[in-house]
């Protein structure tokens, strides 16, 4: 990996720093600290060692033969579900945890939807001896209970957020308010490629390890690049981390899969990139956003807590507008079926978030002759919700 450091404030028209003045000095400090750390070979070596010896990188790239047979083309799965804590989120949490230590901030806050980023952050904090507070919507605490228990066992304090639909958007707002109040002592480990600059760049660069490994692995295994790279998009971190390594390969199509919830026509979904519309500002950046004509943010809906968010990171909107990536959406019921299908075909229980991407490669016709999918996480956290909802499928 090169030591080139890129912090972008704008991705086309998207991004920016729409935050209270109270936070601006901290964002400037964070950007300087990040540029310094990312160019520092010792910092990089420390992170790489942790990713290898502690987290289990590189993760496997696996040819899913029975899925491939059904799809009629080879499907390669990048196994982030095998990473310690069970999802890609740890790549970011470890990197930002080390950065916080370097900045002398010993209190960490995070937001979480599915609980995977919360668990990743709680894990990094346990490892590095940092105090950890995680904001989580009360509805998400219900549907992702095992992850709440894991965070608490790891020593984190999980704070329930009761506002609005009690999901990821409100948890993120509450984390930002905590940061506004405690910014002098606290680092906010944002969990996706969202938020004000420099966060979308930091999270992308920390998740890029997924795409860099996968590109090397698929070249080694097949001697060529895939026709299509597919990933689910909540805030967009596993997708941007995977896409980043292929964005300069013109023959490789990039496809992000959002949550269609109860159907795009129902208005109850989490697919701002797919439905298009006017960009808007939420959580510090100009992004693709579900909103009313007057600019009130519309609540998202998805069976998967990690995709239940009305926006997606700024770089995705830019990739969409420039035509480099395309976005589509998959309903709750199709995602639930994909969890069952992949479990029975491959012996892998995927996260509900990931199942949105898996449905596309398994069930939707396409001209692709080889797919690479980011299997962003494992589905243990979803068992109760999946068993409750599967009878509908």
């Amino acid at each position: 990996m090169s030591a080139k450091v890129t912090v972008q404030h704008r991705f086309g028209a998207y991004g920016g720093q729409y935050v209270p003045e109270t936070l601006m000095p901290a964002l400037l400090e964070l950007e300087a600290a990040w540029i310094d750390a990312w160019a520092d070979t010792e910092f990089r070596a420390r992170l790489d060692a942790l990713l290898r010896d502690y987290a289990g990188r590189p993760t496997a790239l696996y040819l899913a033969e029975r899925m491939s047979e059904i799809a009629g083309r080879p499907i390669w799965l990048k196994r982030e579900d095998l990473l310690h804590t069970g999802a890609h989120k740890l790549n970011n949490a470890l990197g930002q945890g080390l950065l916080a230590v370097r900045m002398g901030k010993r209190r960490i806050i995070a937001e979480t939807g599915a609980g995977q980023h919360g668990v990743g952050t709680a894990t990094a904090c346990a490892l590095l001896g940092l105090e950890c507070v995680v904001y989580m919507g009360a509805e998400d605490m219900r549907r992702q209970l095992p992850n709440v228990q894991r965070m608490e066992l790891l020593g984190a304090e999980v704070r329930a957020v009761e506002a609005g639909t009690r999901t990821l958007k409100e948890a993120t707002s509450e984390a930002i308010r905590d940061w506004v109040t405690n910014v002098e002592t606290t680092h906010y480990i944002i969990g996706s490629a969202i938020g004000p600059a420099p966060y979308p760049s930091i999270v992308r660069d920390l998740q890029r390890v997924i795409g860099d490994e996968a590109r090397e692995q698929i070249l080694a295994a097949t001697g060529r690049l895939p026709a299509r790279v597919v990933a689910c998009v909540g805030g967009g971190s596993n997708a941007i981390g995977t896409f980043a390594a292929f964005v300069d390969d013109p023959g490789v199509r990039l496809l992000g899969v959002e949550a269609a919830g109860e159907g795009l026509d129902s208005g109850r979904h989490g697919a701002p990139l797919t439905v298009g519309g006017r960009p808007g500002v939420l959580h510090g950046a100009l992004i693709a956003l579900l909103q009313t004509d007057e600019g009130q943010v519309i609540e998202a809906h998805s069976v998967s807590a990690g995709l239940d968010y009305p926006g997606a990171g700024p770089e995705h909107a830019h990739l969409r507008d420039s035509g480099r990536a395309t976005y589509t959406a998959v309903t709750d019921l199709d995602a639930l079926r994909a969890v069952r299908d992949v479990a029975r075909l491959e012996g892998i229980i995927p996260a509900l978030e990931t199942a949105h991407a898996l449905h596309v490669v398994l069930r939707e016709a396409d001209t692709s002759d080889m797919d690479l999918v980011c299997l962003s996480g494992r589905g243990d956290k979803d068992l109760a919700e999946v068993m409750r909802r599967l009878p509908e499928c």
Binding site: E21, M24, P25, H283, G284, E294
Partner: protein, 268 residues
């Protein structure tokens, strides 16, 4: 403290209100437009005027107010649930602005949704003298500054205790109308004790601008308002305390008028 750089009608009107305020500092109570419903909030605004407000900060509710604590968040939620739209809040500005200057406060997305130019023009047409957008810092301000200048209203910037001297100088130089000085590191909301911190931030803000310095966030008692004036603030903004009164009192209109009167008394 008054300046020669006054350029727009909005700035002029705000400057006059600060200069002519009868108290030691101008009193600027905040109300959430549309809370608890549009009709009652108009009566609350009138009660602020009757109680002795020199200017009024009029909030336009947004679904995701990241700079606000629980009281104002809840009020925004209720205002939206009561059907409050942008035009309802402009209507309050239209009704109140003939009596005292109105400074609108809302979040970036509502401004962008309408388009900065149209939003500023519509605000001016509704009689607003200024605009406060807490999630538009210096870095994102230029487009909105141009829009406000074209519409003849002041874009009021914020500074906070975390603002470095270098930023303070740049923000202070650009301040129009007044410099909104955040008294605490945190969101809006009442604070039990904070008067000790006033002097430092007010002093720093005053040294960085020729515009009046108005102190806000956390000021909840007449004693704190008086301490802010003692510390040299040219204006005092009272938010959550009044919104809480409007939420809890049996007769919110009478109760907020009484409370505004007590703040005005403390500043005399």
């Amino acid at each position: 403290m008054l300046t020669d750089a006054v350029t727009t009608p909005g700035e002029q009107r705000i400057a006059q209100a600060f200069a002519q305020a009868p108290g030691r500092a101008a009193l600027m109570p905040y109300l959430m437009g549309g809370f608890p419903d549009p009709a009652t909030s108009l009566r609350i605004a009138q009660a602020y005027v009757d109680g002795g407000a020199d200017l009024i900060e009029l909030g336009m509710p947004f679904s995701d107010p990241i700079a606000d604590g629980p009281v104002i968040q809840a009020a925004a939620g209720r205002a939206l649930a009561a059907g409050t739209g942008v035009e309802d809040v402009f209507a309050i500005a239209r009704a109140i602005s003939p009596q005292v200057p109105v400074v609108l406060m809302t979040y970036a997305n509502l401004v962008l949704a309408r388009g900065a130019d149209r939003f500023a023009a519509d605000a001016a047409a509704a009689g607003a003298s200024g605009l406060i957008v807490p999630d538009v810092p210096l870095e994102e301000a230029p487009a909105l500054q141009a829009a406000c200048a074209a519409a003849g209203i002041a874009l009021v910037p914020l500074v906070a205790p975390t603002t470095t001297d270098e930023r303070l100088a740049r923000i202070g130089a650009l301040a129009q109308g007044f410099l909104y000085t955040v008294s605490v590191t945190g969101t809006t909301g009442e604070r039990a004790a904070l008067s000790d911190e006033f002097a430092q931030i007010v002093g720093r803000a005053g040294g960085a601008t020729s515009a009046p310095v108005a102190l806000g966030f956390g000021i909840a008692t007449p004693e704190q308002a008086s301490a802010a004036a003692d510390a040299g603030a040219d204006g005092v903004i009272i938010g959550s305390r009044l919104v809480r009164e409007a939420a809890d009192a049996a007769d919110p209109v009478a109760a907020v008028e009484e409370l505004v009167r007590s703040f005005a008394g403390a500043l005399r």
